[in-house]
Amino acid sequence: MSAISRARELLRALLHRGREDRDLAEEVRFHIEMETAANEQRGMGAAEARRRALVAFGGVERFSEEVRDEDPRLRPPVIRSLASLGAATIARHRFTMLLMGFFAATALSMTAIGIYGVIAYNVARRKQEIGVRMALGARRGSVLRLVVGQAMRPVALGLCIGLGAALLLARLLRGLLYGVGVHDPLTFVVVTCVLLVVALLAAYLPGRRATRVDPVVALRSD
């Protein structure tokens, strides 16, 4: 319901309530007078007759409240702020999205850690080979380029498979998305970049450490 029609409804209820209250007051007055007259006919004095009638009726205030409670139109509508109404409506969705976001963040960081671990391990394992290349006169830059380049090949393959699967499976999320397309380009680009940067760091850091090692030490160790 819009704010305007809510306001109109409230106004209508209040006006209606005013009229209904007047009607009720007159009805109660009529009842008590009739009861008083009947009591007088039974032989009571005027004051006693009226007092009895009032007592029989009970508290008029309490009574008219009870009557009002019976008619839903006379009850003032519950007033809530639009913000709290909105919050209550989307609370469940919001919680689902929070959970989804948490899972997604966990998945992304686990992926990053996994890629870093695998690549760093592979590059570190080639320390001896790097030592040999350096001993034979290879330059640092070219060795690093070689190591990083080779490490990135499975990463590129993985990214291709992952992006393809994401494009195919994202439609399952359609029901949860609002205001964002299923194939939101920004999301795809950002996630790809994050994974690429992680992979590059994972290859570059151990690779650089390997090129700094004295070739003789590298050759001696197995």
């Binding site: 007078e33 009970g58 009870e66």
Partner: protein, 114 residues
């Protein structure tokens, strides 16, 4: 005044009001008087439940209220049965007869198979 008044059974007040109003339109006080008289003073109608009941029935469309003048030239709110109210009375009456005869069967039961 009769020596013993009975509490109205829960849920029967509306049926008795419908019955009273089915004879002729009446104001609240008249309804209370009529029920008291016809029940030979067995039932005292409590105003605290009479008017809420009337209001409830009005909002359910069983009766309508209109201001009229009494024989003594007083303004009073008269209640009149609607077609829906008449149907409700028939339904209430059927339900009442069913359950009261069931209660009587049980009270009259003196052992053995019914």
């Amino acid at each position: 005044m009769a020596p013993d008044h009975s509490e109205l059974l829960q849920g029967t007040l509306e049926m008795l009001i419908l019955k009273t109003l089915s004879l002729e339109p009446m104001h609240g006080w008249g309804v209370a008087q009529r029920i008291q008289q016809i029940s030979r003073e067995t039932f005292q109608v409590n105003q605290g439940s009479l008017y809420p009941a009337l209001q409830r029935m009005k909002s359910r469309g069983l009766i309508v209220a209109e201001w009229r003048t009494t024989e003594n030239n007083r303004r009073a709110r008269y209640y009149r049965l609607t077609a829906a109210g008449r149907r409700q009375l028939e339904a209430d009456r059927a339900a009442w007869e069913r359950s009261s005869s069931a209660v009587n069967w049980i009270l009259d039961w003196s052992g053995g198979a019914a």
